[in-house]
C-alpha cells in the first residue's frame, strides 16, 4: 500500500501535464458544432495543419536544441507525396492520355516516370509521405551530427538543403509541375470515406491527426530517449561523457520531427487541394520558426497554439492588403520582443502567471490558517 503513494502522485503529475493538451484537443474537436460554415472550417483546418508542422519543429528545436530552418522541406515532401497519388487518381480528362498527369503532357513526357509509378497506390503514398521525409532527415542528420556540427551551422545546412530541393523541384518542371506545383487533384478516399476539402470529414481527419501528433510528441518527450535528447540540448559533452551516442539520439529526434512534418504536409495537400514549391519555401519555413518562438518552443501545446493563433490572425487580416502589411510589421516587432524578453514564448508567460496564482493562493491559505497575513492577502 505505501508503495502506491509515489506512483499516484506521478500519475497526477502526468495528468496535470496532459491536461492542457487534452483541453486544446477537445476544443478542436468541438469547434465544428459551433462553427456552421464550411468555408471557415476549411480555413481552421489549414491553421491546425500548420499547428502540427510547428509542433514538429518544437520537438527538434525546443527539446532537441536543433534549430531546423528547413522544417518546411519535410512538410513539402509529404505534401508532394500526397499530391502525386491524388493526381494519378484524377479522371483521365484532366490527366491526358493513358493517365499521364496534364503537366507532363504539356511538357511532352511520353511515359510516367519510374518514381511516379508506385504512387498509383494510395497506401504507398501515405507511407512515403511519412517515411521519405524521415529518411531524408535521418540521412541529413547522419551527415551533420556524426560530424558534430552544432548550433548555427545546423541552421545553415538545413536551410541550404531545403533551398536546393526547392530549386530542383522548380527546375524539373516536366516531372514535378515546376513553379505551378501539382494542381487539379482528386479527392482523398480512404475506406470509402471521401475527404472533401470543405467537408466535415476532412476537418475531423485533421483534428485526429492533431491529437495523434501531439500525443506522439508528448510521449517522446516523456520517454527515456526524450529525456536524453533534452539533456543533450542542455549539455552535449556531458551526455557524451556518460557514454551515450549523442548523434544517434539527435538523428532520431530529427527524423521523428520530419515524419510529423510530413504528416502535416500530406494533410495540407488534402485541405488546400494542391501542392506547390512554396510549401517548401524559405518564407514558410521561417514563419514556422516565428510561430514556434511566439507560442513557446519548449511547450508542444504552446507551439501548436502559436501557429494557429498567429497564422489565423494573419489569415483573418489578409482580406485587406493594407491591414496585412501593417500586421506583418506588428508581427516582426512582436517577434523581436518575444525573442528578447520571453525566450519561452507565450507558454512560458502562461506558466509564470499560473505559478504566481498558485503561490498567492498558497500564501493566502497559509495566512488564513495561521490567522495572520491578512495584509499580504489583500494587497
Amino acid at each position: 500500500m505505501p508503495s502506491n503513494a509515489p506512483n499516484s502522485s506521478r500519475l497526477q503529475r502526468l495528468i496535470a501535464q496532459l491536461a492542457p493538451l487534452l483541453i486544446v484537443c477537445a476544443i478542436v474537436f468541438a469547434l465544428p458544432v459551433l462553427l456552421n460554415n464550411d468555408f471557415l472550417l476549411n480555413k481552421v483546418a489549414r491553421y491546425l495543419v500548420l499547428g502540427i508542422l510547428t509542433v514538429s519543429l518544437g520537438l527538434s528545436w525546443g527539446f532537441g536544441g536543433i534549430l531546423n530552418l528547413g522544417q518546411a522541406m519535410s512538410f513539402g515532401l509529404g505534401s508532394y507525396a500526397m499530391a502525386m497519388a491524388l493526381k494519378l487518381k484524377t479522371v483521365p480528362v484532366h490527366t491526358g492520355a493513358s493517365g499521364l498527369p496534364d503537366f507532363m503532357v504539356w511538357n511532352n513526357v511520353q511515359h510516367l516516370p519510374w518514381f511516379w509509378q508506385p504512387f498509383r497506390s494510395l497506401t504507398f503514398a501515405i507511407a512515403a509521405g511519412l517515411i521519405v521525409p524521415a529518411l531524408v532527415a535521418a540521412a541529413l542528420g547522419w551527415f551533420m551530427f556524426r560530424g558534430r556540427v552544432t548550433g548555427v551551422y545546423v541552421s545553415i545546412i538545413t536551410l541550404a538543403t531545403m533551398v536546393v530541393i526547392n530549386l530542383v523541384i522548380i527546375d524539373q518542371q516536366s516531372y514535378t509541375g515546376g513553379f505551378n506545383g501539382i494542381t487539379d487533384l482528386a479527392q482523398l478516399e480512404i475506406f470509402g470515406v471521401a475527404f472533401d476539402a470543405y467537408g466535415r470529414a476532412t476537418y475531423y481527419l485533421v483534428a485526429c491527426c492533431v491529437l495523434l501528433s501531439l500525443l506522439v510528441a508528448f510521449a517522446f518527450t516523456k520517454s527515456k530517449a526524450g529525456l536524453i535528447v533534452q539533456a543533450i540540448r542542455d549539455h552535449e559533452s556531458r551526455v557524451r561523457y556518460f557514454g551515450y551516442d549523442v548523434a544517434l539520439y539527435q538523428i532520431f529526434v530529427f527524423a521523428l520531427s520530419a515524419a510529423i512534418a510530413g504528416l502535416a504536409g500530406m494533410l495540407y495537400t488534402v485541405v488546400m487541394e494542391f501542392a506547390s514549391p512554396t510549401f517548401l519555401g524559405v518564407q514558410l519555413s521561417l514563419s514556422v520558426v516565428v510561430w514556434c518562438a511566439v507560442g513557446g518552443r519548449q511547450s508542444l501545446v504552446g507551439a501548436f497554439l502559436g501557429a494557429v493563433l498567429v497564422a489565423g490572425m494573419q489569415g483573418a487580416l489578409s482580406e485587406s492588403a493594407a491591414f496585412l502589411e501593417t500586421w506583418t510589421l506588428v508581427m516582426g516587432a512582436l517577434f523581436v520582443l518575444v525573442v528578447l524578453f520571453l525566450p519561452k514564448g507565450l507558454a512560458g508567460l502562461a506558466q509564470v502567471v499560473l505559478r504566481w496564482i498558485v503561490q498567492r493562493r498558497q500564501a493566502a491559505g497559509r495566512g488564513v490558517a495561521q490567522g495572520v497575513g491578512q495584509t499580504e492577502g489583500s494587497t
Binding site: L67, F143, G147, V149, Y153, D171, T326, L329, V339, L340
Partner: protein, 289 residues
C-alpha cells in the same frame, strides 16, 4: 578565348558585388558572432537612400555615398544598442532577432515608400564602356570592382592599424580581459555593427543602378553573402575577398555551362559539404588563443 576572358570578367563583376555585400556581414559575424539576417535589409535601405537622395535632393549617386553610409550606420547603431546588446549570451537567438528586425525594416519601407520598383540612374561619368583585355566592359562594373577592393583595403586598415580596430581584436580574443584593461566592449560592438551596416548600405547604393530597387531586394543578397563569409572563414578578411571572387567565378562559370538554377544548387551543395568538413572556412587566420 574571347569567350573565356568574357566569362572571367563576368565572374569578377559578380564577385565584386558579392564582396561589397559580404564585407559588412563578415566584420559583424567575425567579430561579434552575430549572424545578421537583417543585413539584406541594410543593403535595401542603402539602395532606397540612394533613390531618395536622387529623387528628392537631386544628389548624384557618387555624391550621396557618404551620407548613405552614415544614415545606414546610424540604423545599425540603434539596432545593436537596443536589440542585439540584450542578447549577449544567446548567439542562436540573434538570428531570430535580426530576422525580425529585417521584417520590420522591409515592412516599414513597403508601407512608407510603397512596393513598386524604383530605379536609380547610373552616374553619367561612368555610363560608357571601356576595354579590358580587348573585351568591352561597362565602366560602372570596373568602378564597382575598384570600389570593392578599396573598401576592403580601408576595412583592413581600420581593423589592423587603428586604436578602435585594436580594441576590437582584443575583445574578440578575450572579452573580459579586454574589459579589465578599460576597453568599453559595448561601445566597440555598437561601432562595429554600425560600420558593418554602413558598408551594407554602401553596397546597396552601389548596386542600385544595376538592379531595380524593391523592399525585398535584400533577401537574395544576404544568402549569397553569407555563403561568401562561411566559405572565406570567420575572422578572415582576406578569405572573404578570395571566396567572393571564387564564388563569383564559380556561379558565373556553372551558369554559363548549365543554367542559373543548377549553378545555385551546386554552389549551395558545395557549401553544405564544406561546412560539414571544414566549419572554420577555407582560409582561416589562426587566432592566438
Amino acid at each position: 578565348m574571347d569567350q573565356f576572358i568574357e566569362q572571367i570578367v563576368t565572374g569578377l563583376s559578380i564577385g565584386s558585388i558579392l564582396l561589397l555585400v559580404a564585407l559588412g556581414l563578415s566584420i559583424i559575424y567575425g567579430s561579434m558572432g552575430i549572424i545578421n539576417l537583417a543585413h539584406g535589409e541594410f543593403v535595401m535601405l542603402g539602395a532606397y537612400a540612394a533613390w531618395v537622395f536622387h529623387t528628392y535632393l537631386g544628389l548624384g549617386l557618387l555624391a550621396s555615398l557618404i551620407p548613405i553610409f552614415l544614415v545606414v550606420a546610424a540604423f545599425g547603431w540603434v539596432i545593436e544598442r537596443y536589440v542585439l546588446s540584450l542578447l549577449n549570451n544567446r548567439p542562436l537567438d540573434t538570428i531570430l532577432a535580426t530576422w525580425g528586425v529585417g521584417i520590420m525594416l522591409q515592412q516599414a519601407v513597403r508601407l512608407s515608400v510603397g512596393s513598386e520598383l524604383r530605379y536609380v540612374q547610373l552616374p553619367p561619368a561612368l555610363s560608357d564602356s571601356m576595354d579590358v583585355f580587348g573585351i568591352p566592359v561597362s565602366s560602372y562594373r570596373v568602378f564597382l570592382f575598384v570600389v570593392s577592393i578599396a573598401l576592403f583595403g580601408a576595412t583592413w586598415l581600420l581593423m589592423n592599424r587603428t586604436p578602435v580596430g585594436m580594441k576590437l581584436r582584443a575583445i574578440i580574443q578575450d572579452r573580459s580581459v579586454a574589459a579589465s584593461f578599460g576597453i568599453n566592449a559595448k561601445r566597440v560592438y555598437a561601432l562595429t555593427f554600425a560600420y558593418g551596416a554602413g558598408l551594407a548600405g554602401l553596397a546597396g547604393a552601389l548596386v542600385s543602378p544595376l538592379k531595380s530597387v524593391s523592399p525585398d531586394m535584400g533577401t537574395g543578397y544576404v544568402v549569397d553573402a553569407f555563403m561568401v563569409v562561411v566559405l572565406g572563414g570567420v575572422q578572415s578578411l582576406a578569405g572573404t575577398v578570395a571566396s567572393a571572387f571564387i564564388l563569383g567565378e564559380l556561379s558565373g562559370g556553372i551558369a554559363f555551362l548549365q543554367n542559373d538554377t543548377v549553378a545555385k544548387a551546386i554552389v549551395l551543395l558545395a557549401i553544405v559539404v564544406l561546412i560539414r568538413f571544414r566549419p572554420e572556412g577555407l582560409f582561416t587566420a589562426r587566432v592566438r588563443a
